[in-house]
C-alpha cells in the first residue's frame, strides 16, 4: 500500500513537470523563438497566449515585442559651415526578427551598443554635410522679429543671416538619418521606427559668441526705442511751437480785424452824423476844445471887438 502511494505521488509529480515543460505563456509584450538543442525550430512565436512545445527538448527564448528606446549620448559635431554643436539623438526601435536578432546580437545590451555605433556614425556623417541652419530650421516659414516702428508693429526680420533659405530642414535631415540607418539594421533583425534629434546646442565657446550677438541685437533695439522717444519728443515739441504760434497769431489777426472793423464803423457813424453840418461840427468841437485846453496856466488875450467883448464898447447891435 505504501509503495503504491509513493508511485502515485511520483506519477503526479512527473505529470506536472511534463505539463509545465510543455506549456508556456507569452504576454502581449513578448515574442519568442523555440530552439531544439540550440537549433531554431519553426517560425518565431509572435502571438500572445498559451503555447505548447516538446518538453525538455525544446527551449523557449523570450524577447520584447514592444517598441524599445535608444538614447544616444550627446556628440560634439561640426556642421558643414564649421560650427560646433552638441547633438543628442534618440531612437525608437523594435525586434522584428527575433531569430536573426538572437543569432546576430543575442541580447538587448549588445543591440544597444550596435545601435550606438550605427546611429552615431550616420548622424555624424549627415550633420557634417549639412549647414547649421538646415539642422535648426524646418521650413522657410517667414519669421518676424521685434523691430518695433512708431506704431509698435512687428515687422519681418531684416538681417541677411536670418532670411537665409533652407533646402531641406530638420525633419528631412532626420528622415535621411533614419533612411540610412534603416538600410543597416535589418541584418540584426531590428527595425528602427524613428530617429529624432532631441537637443542641438552650441558648444560653450560658440554659445558665448551667440550671447554677445544677442546682447548687441537687444542693445540695438533698445537704442532704437530711445531714439524713437527722442524723435517723438522733438516732433511733439515742434508741434507745440507751431500750435502756439498759430494760436497766438490767429488771435492777434482776429483781434486786429475786429478792432479795425470797429474803427471803420465808428468812423462811418461819425462821418454820417457830422456830414449833415460840418461847420456846426467844427464849431462844437472848437468850443469843446476851449473847455479842455484852457486852464489856470493859460493867459488869454481878447480883442475888444471879439464876440465876447463887443458889448464892452457899445451895446448897439451892429
Amino acid at each position: 500500500m505504501n509503495f503504491r502511494r509513493i508511485f502515485l505521488l511520483l506519477a503526479v509529480f512527473v505529470l506536472v513537470l511534463v505539463a509545465g515543460a510543455s506549456f508556456y505563456t507569452l504576454d502581449e509584450t513578448q515574442q519568442a523563438i523555440i530552439t531544439q538543442f540550440g537549433e531554431p525550430v519553426d517560425q518565431p512565436i509572435r502571438e500572445a497566449g498559451l503555447h505548447m512545445k516538446v518538453p525538455f527538448i525544446q527551449k523557449v527564448t523570450i524577447f520584447d515585442k514592444r517598441i524599445l528606446e535608444w538614447d544616444g549620448a550627446p556628440n560634439q559635431i561640426p556642421t558643414e559651415d564649421k560650427k560646433y554643436i552638441w547633438v543628442n539623438t534618440f531612437a525608437r526601435w523594435r525586434i522584428v526578427d527575433p531569430l536573426k536578432f538572437y543569432q546576430s546580437v543575442n541580447n538587448e545590451t549588445a543591440a544597444q551598443s550596435r545601435l550606438d555605433d550605427i546611429i552615431d556614425g550616420v548622424t555624424r556623417d549627415i550633420i557634417t554635410q549639412s549647414p547649421l541652419i538646415e539642422i535648426v530650421r524646418n521650413s522657410n516659414r517667414e519669421m518676424t522679429t521685434i523691430v518695433e516702428g512708431d506704431s509698435g508693429t512687428v515687422e519681418p526680420a531684416v538681417e541677411s543671416q536670418e532670411i537665409e533659405t533652407i533646402t531641406s530642414g530638420r525633419s528631412q535631415i532626420m528622415d535621411r538619418i533614419l533612411a540610412k540607418v534603416s538600410e543597416m539594421v535589418p541584418q540584426y533583425g531590428i527595425e528602427v521606427i524613428d530617429i529624432r534629434i532631441k537637443h542641438i546646442n552650441y558648444i560653450d565657446d560658440v554659445l558665448r559668441k551667440v550671447y554677445d550677438r544677442m546682447i548687441a541685437e537687444r542693445n540695438r533695439i533698445a537704442e532704437k526705442y530711445r531714439s524713437e522717444g527722442q524723435g517723438e519728443r522733438a516732433k511733439i515739441d515742434g508741434q507745440r511751437e507751431k500750435d502756439l504760434q498759430t494760436i497766438t497769431s490767429q488771435a492777434y489777426k482776429q483781434a486786429q480785424q475786429i478792432k479795425g472793423e470797429a474803427d471803420a464803423r465808428a468812423a462811418r457813424i461819425y462821418a454820417d452824423a457830422y456830414n449833415r453840418d460840418p461847420e456846426f461840427y467844427s464849431f462844437l468841437q472848437t468850443l469843446d476844445s476851449y473847455r479842455t485846453t484852457l486852464n489856470q496856466n493859460s493867459t488869454l488875450f481878447l480883442k475888444t471887438d471879439s464876440d465876447f467883448l463887443k458889448y464892452l464898447k457899445s451895446t448897439a447891435p451892429r
Partner: protein, 329 residues
C-alpha cells in the same frame, strides 16, 4: 493516535494533528484564492484590461467583474480618465497652495536654438491622457520616456522655426498648438495610445547672460513712453493756456469794438440831437453856446488881457502889470 518518536532514548509525544483540520485549512485557502482571483472592481476613472495566458481578451468598463481565477486571466487597470503631466525645464517639488519648485538647473532641457540662431530658455508642460489602454500597455516599453523624448524633439523642431522674439514674446500660443499637433502625430506614429490634452509654454526667457539686455529693451521702451509723455505734458501745459489767452485777446477786441461803436453812435446821436435843435434857431443857439463856453472857461484861466484894436503894442501893458504885483520894475 499520537505519534511517538524515539529521540535519544526518550520517547516524545508529538502534538496531535488532525487530518480533518488540515483539509479544512487547505480547502479554505483554495476557496479564498478562488474568490480573490475571480472578482475585481474597476474604479470610475480607469478601465481593466483582461489577459488570458498573457493574451489580450477585452477591456472592461468600471464596475464589479468576474474573471477566470488562479492567474489564468489577469487584469491590468489603466487610469484612462486621469490627465497626466510631464514638466520640461523645471520640476515641481511639492504641489500645493504654495507650490515649490526644485532649485536644480534644467537648462539642458530648456535651452534651445531658435530659427534666427539665437537661444531661448523654454519651460513647458505636456498634459496627456491614455486614449487606447491596449496600445499604452503593450506597444511601447518606456512610455513616459518616449513621451518626454518626443516632446522635447517636437518642441525644438517648432522653436527652431521661430525667431527668438516670436518664442519669447509674440507667438507663444501658436507654438504651443503647433507642438501639440506635431507631438500627437509623432505619438500616433509610435503607437503609444496616448492623447495629448495640451501643451503649455510656461516661463520662456532669454538665456541668463542675455537677460539684462532684454530687460534693457523693456526699460528703453518705458523710457520712450516716458519721454513722449513728458513732451505731451509740456504741450498740454502750454497749448490750452495759449488757447485761453487767444480767446481773451479776441474778446478784448470784441469789447473794444462794442465800445468804439457805441461811443461813436452815442457821439453821433448827441451831435445830431444838438444839431436838430440848432438848425431850428441857428443864430441864437450858436451865440448861446459860445457864450456859455466862454463863461465856463473864463474863470479858470490865469490871466485875461483885453486889447483894443488901436493899441498895437503889448509890452508897456505887461510891464505895468509887473510893477503892480511885485512893486519893483
Amino acid at each position: 493516535m499520537a505519534r511517538m518518536v524515539n529521540m535519544s532514548g526518550k520517547v516524545v509525544e508529538l502534538p496531535r494533528f488532525e487530518g480533518r483540520w488540515l483539509r479544512l485549512i487547505a480547502i479554505g485557502a483554495v476557496v479564498a484564492w478562488f474568490l480573490l482571483s475571480s472578482f475585481y472592481t474597476v474604479d470610475a476613472d480607469e478601465v481593466g484590461v483582461i489577459q488570458r495566458f498573457g493574451k489580450y481578451v477585452e477591456t472592461m468598463q468600471p464596475g464589479l467583474h468576474m474573471k477566470i481565477p488562479f492567474g489564468i486571466e489577469t487584469v491590468k487597470k489603466v487610469k484612462v480618465q486621469r490627465v497626466l503631466k510631464e514638466e520640461f525645464g523645471y520640476r515641481t517639488q511639492a504641489p500645493g497652495v504654495r507650490t515649490t519648485y526644485e532649485e536644480a538647473d534644467y537648462s539642458s532641457e530648456s535651452l534651445m536654438l531658435t530659427g534666427d540662431l539665437s537661444c531661448a530658455l523654454v519651460e513647458w508642460i505636456v498634459q496627456y491622457r491614455i486614449k487606447d489602454p491596449k496600445a499604452y500597455l503593450f506597444h511601447v516599453r518606456d512610455i513616459t520616456g518616449t513621451i518626454r523624448d518626443l516632446t522635447q524633439s517636437a518642441m525644438r523642431q517648432v522653436v527652431g522655426d521661430h525667431s527668438v522674439d516670436e518664442v519669447i514674446i509674440t507667438n507663444r500660443q501658436e507654438i504651443s498648438l503647433e507642438v501639440r499637433d506635431l507631438l500627437q502625430e509623432l505619438l500616433d506614429h509610435t503607437e503609444t495610445g496616448v492623447d495629448i490634452v495640451t501643451v503649455n509654454l510656461q516661463d520662456v526667457n532669454p538665456p541668463g547672460p542675455v537677460q539684462p539686455a532684454f530687460n534693457a529693451v523693456n526699460e528703453a521702451k518705458q523710457e520712450r513712453e516716458r519721454i513722449i509723455n513728458e513732451a505731451l505734458e509740456a504741450y498740454n501745459k502750454v497749448i490750452p493756456q495759449a488757447q485761453g489767452e487767444a480767446e481773451q485777446l479776441r474778446r478784448q477786441a470784441e469789447g473794444y469794438s462794442v465800445n468804439r461803436v457805441n461811443r461813436a453812435r452815442g457821439d453821433a446821436d448827441k451831435f445830431l440831437a444838438i444839431w436838430q435843435e440848432y438848425s431850428r434857431a441857428r443864430d441864437v443857439t450858436r451865440r448861446r453856446m459860445y457864450l456859455e463856453t466862454m463863461l465856463d472857461v473864463m474863470p479858470r484861466v490865469k490871466e485875461v488881457y483885453i486889447i483894443d484894436d488901436k493899441q498895437s503894442n503889448l509890452i508897456p501893458l505887461l510891464q505895468m502889470r509887473g510893477l503892480e504885483k511885485g512893486g519893483q520894475p
